[in-house]
Point group: C2
Chain length 336, copies 2
Amino acid sequence: MSTATIKDVAREARVSVASVSRALNGGRGVTAETSQRIREAAARLRYMPHAAARMLITRRTNTVGALLPDLYGEFFSELIRGIDLAARARGLHLLVSSSHDDADAAAAALRAMQGRVDGLLLMSPHADAAFLRQNLPHDLPTVLMNTRLAGDDYCALSVDNDGGARLMVEHLLAVGHQRIVFIQGPPGNRDADERELGYRETLVRHAPDSPVSMLRGDFSEESGYHAGQQVLAMRPRPDAVFAANDMMAIGCMAALRDNGICVPEEIAVSGFDDVPIARYVTPPLTTIQVHIAELGGQAMELLGEQIDHPGQPMTGIHRRVAAKLVVRGSTGVPPG
Amino acid sequence: MSTATIKDVAREARVSVASVSRALNGGRGVTAETSQRIREAAARLRYMPHAAARMLITRRTNTVGALLPDLYGEFFSELIRGIDLAARARGLHLLVSSSHDDADAAAAALRAMQGRVDGLLLMSPHADAAFLRQNLPHDLPTVLMNTRLAGDDYCALSVDNDGGARLMVEHLLAVGHQRIVFIQGPPGNRDADERELGYRETLVRHAPDSPVSMLRGDFSEESGYHAGQQVLAMRPRPDAVFAANDMMAIGCMAALRDNGICVPEEIAVSGFDDVPIARYVTPPLTTIQVHIAELGGQAMELLGEQIDHPGQPMTGIHRRVAAKLVVRGSTGVPPG
DNA sequence: ACTCGTCATGAAAACGTTTACGTTGCCGCC
DNA sequence: GGCGGCAACGTAAACGTTTTCATGACGAGT
């Protein structure tokens, strides 16, 4: 039966339920001989401990929740993969809830997870301090991912946007570009802001003579196209474009191509993210690769630590995952 | 406190725990007045019913499990999105477990889900009949997705590969192509096989004079490139290529381009899946779009029905989600 | 006026585990 | 031989809920 209970096993093995529990869990306080008998009985009856009963008494669910916003494409998929892998390594289950457009939906999903999870992986644009204090039980281990919040009260983890932007600007300067224009992301977006900051700082430090100039964008391909048109109107004309993400870089390249400008001969173009498309556009896009799965995995690790050691206050920890420069054709270095 | 129990609420509202339960669940058998008082008390104490305790007595977890293979890119993401949306609409939680390389890992994950879920969404290349009978509790509602198994014992749901292939072949014939060669997917892959069958049948029915010819492939871009080279060697040379998926189509186009053949002027190329990259390659790829999120959503719907009506045997139901033709530049119809 | 049904409510059982606490029996030590 | 300690095992309490059953109140029908 799929409904074999611990009592049935106890009867079958001619011991008490307590011994069954001991034998199957710790194994301590039970003779090797009886333990063996119990295991056999359990196997014979296809016994599976009732998860809910165990949770009730143990106060542990062995499950972590992942609350994610409405995410685009393979970012989401890589993130889940990383989280899932790390969770399984720790013997934890993964309860996901995605696609929250507004703060209310996120709050509802968060409440619904109450008591079903031992910890929470949270990535939400709505997660400001007030939201968290309102909707999070303060004793629930939580790791914030890519949040705006400086990890003051919570444990946080995000992409090294600064470092990535620095790498890109250094690369552009190294191959001889002077006037590098930056296409911004949506206002208020943390990733976009950090990338912009990295661009400004690196430029100021390494090439004080080069002008710092920026164009508006919102991460969409269209906004990239529009920015590309603006690039053409600038005097003196920039010789390189650094877009805050790949899709805008692709849109920008389309605008340049439509106006007869050759990439990378006349203007170099680069992006950020290394989406799969990046290597298929012509010319292939130089960009910054971020290991998304690692982001998820490390977040899960951090959460696991918090769950295992509830006493230690790990709040304030803010780790970053590395970003890597991937040079392709669009910045003119490879032959072509 | 986050640890307010139903007893606390009962004391606060000066009623018994039974009344609290009634008021908060059905609302029947309780005066509107007392119900109101109870609700207020519950709100005041921030009471949240303990999920495990409820599961234990109710025998319902309000959770469904999704067991998925190691999936690539945005297919996975779209699938989860569709499932998650439909699950939330039914008030169900989603427990996911992905990245199972081998049958053992899948079996382990499956066992671990025992008792934590009311139903199962299963998509696994390892899920043959024997595997299922071995590892699935036969009384657990289950929906198979894109499985090789004809839905004899279980409820199944998959992509309309036949229909999609038919649409594509009809399109190629309609724009005047005569010799259409098909690039196969990995041997044994159900989707690939069905697409191939659709190709053959449609060609035989609509254009008995056109030769049926096929090249080997394995869904990878490299295999598509290789197939493209073979296309060039064929005499008489085909005037259209239909690849079993987009990545092979893209590889094939690369091979043709590298050998100085113009797409679509000299040879038309088409794929299947409509991956995001498809619209960015040059020329943009004509392909078959499958609404993955809908696949997940419908599977969830089916599962929900099974859970709500445990008596009715819904086994044998096999539904398909529609595929849609998306015409772009690579088959020569749009100007360019 | 008596009874019967209906309805709000409370008491208590049940769900399947884990675990604190007894109760043995055994061994070694004085 | 008594005593203390230890290991194996059983008993029972606890976890927080839902649900069945009993109880009492009240209104209506005869």
